[in-house]
């Protein structure tokens, strides 16, 4: 469901400004899938993702009185979610990388070869990446930030960002190939 097109959105936001618990729940419910999918990509597991999600919504309900029409709630929520996720990861392990600035090459896959893989399985592959690689991959590949922006966000060098992205891609490619091998063996 497109959150921005939900006719109830502005009613919930206005009620949330008055700390109406019922509306808070409705808004939370409407955003749950979108927000949780972002959190899951950044977190190591589902429990961490839940924690990031709720920390984010605490901020949302705390600051929602600042929103005024046109709300652009989705972009605002996304910003808070990513922010909280990075903070959560940084708290547990600072983004201190020591990596060279390897040249970034595009890694290609055949989508048809992986049609059997569910979104949950792909998500698990991303979650299994080391947090440092995972964060850069999410910010670059999914969110669309540039290496310069990522470097500034994570307080790392542009070279490190590129290098980590490349390593993340390599790791994902390896996992995909392993999955393909298992699938082919099972289907024999």
């Amino acid at each position: 469901m497109n959150l921005e097109e939900n006719p109830q959105l502005h009613i919930w936001i206005e009620a949330c400004k008055k700390q109406d618990r019922k509306s808070q729940k409705e808004l939370y419910k409407a955003c749950f899938s979108y927000a949780m999918s972002i959190c899951l990509r950044y977190a190591n597991n589902k429990e961490e993702a839940k924690e990031i999600l709720n920390d984010s919504f605490l901020k949302v309900f705390d600051k929602i009185h600042h929103l005024s029409p046109p709300y652009q709630f989705k972009a605002w929520l996304r910003r808070i979610l990513i922010n909280t996720a990075i903070d959560y990861l940084r708290r547990n392990k600072p983004f201190l990388y020591s990596a060279d600035s390897s040249e970034v090459r595009g890694i290609y896959v055949e989508p048809t070869a992986f049609e059997h893989l569910s979104a949950q399985e792909l998500l698990q592959m991303v979650q299994e990446l080391p947090p440092t690689y995972r964060t850069v991959f999410n910010l670059f590949a999914i969110e669309g930030y540039s290496h310069e922006e990522i470097a500034e966000m994570l307080q790392i060098s542009v070279g490190t960002s590129k290098s980590n992205l490349h390593k993340a891609r390599q790791a994902l490619q390896k996992k995909l190939l392993e999955e393909k091998k298992i699938f082919l063996e099972a289907s024999k």
Binding site: R21, Q24, K25, Y28, K29, F32, S33, S37, R41, K50, L53, N54, L58, K59, D62, K63, H65, H66, L67, S68, P70, Y71, Q72, A75, W76, R79, I82, N83, T84, I86, D87, R90, R91, G106, I107, Y108, V109, E110, P111, T112, F114, L117, A119, L122, L123, V126, F137, F140, A141, I142, E143, Y145, E149, I150, E152, M153, R169, L172, Q173, L176
Partner: protein, 366 residues
């Protein structure tokens, strides 16, 4: 070539699969959040009370400080006044011995009664050593003579008129007192303009404002003012909104603009003639916040930072100087919907007028 067309970038593959992930609502996760919200609500109630008490405490502190300054300056004022008065009370007899043939005449009395302030004024002033009563000073002569008459009638200067007395005595004494006799009081004022760029995790900001320094003692002074500061970050202006992550930039806030008015309240202690240390808080008033294309015009106030700095003064004239003040801002309360926290190194560079020009009151001493 055909094989390559069928392939897609691994980034795009994952983006396509993961972007529209459908996840079912989990009631338990909401229950956890609800507990946190309840806990926060209780804490907020305490904070609201604390916030009120904080304001009351601030009013009390600044009120006390203001009263202290007033009381101190009054004390200094009376101290000087009393010194003059004590000397002056011994003076009329001596003066009368020195001044022969200067008994009051009806004409003299009449003249002085038209300028009554002189009647109350003059007994408090002790004349300088080189002061001589001659016919060239008819005003003083008349006043002294009249004072003697009034003293005999037990008419005393009232406390209420002391202020008037000193002001007028100042104006009279200016002509007779030497520069050495000038005494500095502990009150001074300095006004100035300041330009302050700040380099911080928030980006680079620059403010322009006016400052006023109010000297309490020879060494200590209070500094306040007002500065307009437009804050702009290319990417990482907004900071995450809690204590642990105050230096974490917000990755999605690449178009944030803030317009603020800042009112610092600082105490400055002079270490040497040119060097001072200062510490205090900054009150920040949010005038406008712009995130991407969304404009937030909600007026907000926060005690945004604790400021600690060192000031170096370069005297360029008798009453004017250039000030250079490197300082650091420790973030306190966040401001705006993105929870921006103001912190970082800054440099106030300004020109001020009035520094070193202590307000002088003229007293006449032996």
């Amino acid at each position: 070539m055909k094989v390559k067309m069928e392939k897609m970038k691994i980034d795009e593959f994952f983006k396509e699969k993961l972007t529209n992930l459908e996840i079912e609502f989990d009631e338990e996760v909401w229950n956890d959040l609800e507990k946190k919200l309840d806990k926060k609500k209780r804490r907020d109630r305490v904070l609201v009370w604390w916030w009120h008490w904080e304001k009351i405490a601030a009013v009390f502190v600044f009120g006390s400080l203001g009263y202290g300054i007033y009381h101190f300056s009054e004390k200094e004022f009376h101290k000087q006044n009393n010194q003059v008065e004590l000397v002056a009370r011994q003076e009329p007899k001596e003066a009368s011995n020195k001044k022969q043939n200067l008994e009051p005449t009806p004409r003299n009395t009449a003249t002085t009664s038209r300028k009554q302030e002189n009647v109350f004024l003059f007994p408090k002033i002790k004349e300088p050593k080189n002061f001589t009563y001659t016919q060239e000073n008819p005003k003083q002569v008349e006043a002294i003579n009249l004072d003697r008459i009034l003293e005999e009638r037990n008419i005393h200067t009232s406390i209420a008129l002391q202020a008037l007395t000193l002001d007028v005595s100042d104006s009279l004494a200016t002509n007779t007192a030497s520069e050495e006799n000038k005494k500095s009081t502990n009150i001074s004022h300095t006004i100035g303009l300041a330009f302050s760029p700040v380099i911080s995790p928030n980006g680079l900001q620059a403010g322009l404002g006016y400052t006023h320094e109010f000297g309490i003692t020879e060494r200590a002074s209070l500094v306040s003012g007002v500065a307009y500061t437009p804050w702009a970050g290319t990417n990482n202006l907004a900071m995450a909104n809690n204590a642990q992550n105050s230096f974490i930039p917000d990755p999605a806030s690449n178009n944030i603009r803030l317009q603020t008015l800042e009112i610092p309240l600082e105490t400055k202690i002079k270490i040497t003639e040119n060097l001072s240390v200062s510490s205090g808080i900054s009150n920040t008033f949010l005038l406008q916040e712009k995130i991407a294309d969304v404009v937030n015009n909600d007026f907000e106030w926060s005690i945004s930072s604790l400021n600690v700095g060192v000031q170096y003064d370069i005297h360029i004239g008798k009453n004017s100087q250039l000030n250079l003040q490197p300082y650091y801002r420790f973030p306190l309360q966040s401001i705006g919907s993105a929870g921006t926290q103001i912190s970082g190194f800054g440099l106030r560079a300004g020109y001020s007028y009035g520094k070193g020009k202590r307000r002088h009151r003229n007293t006449i001493e032996n």
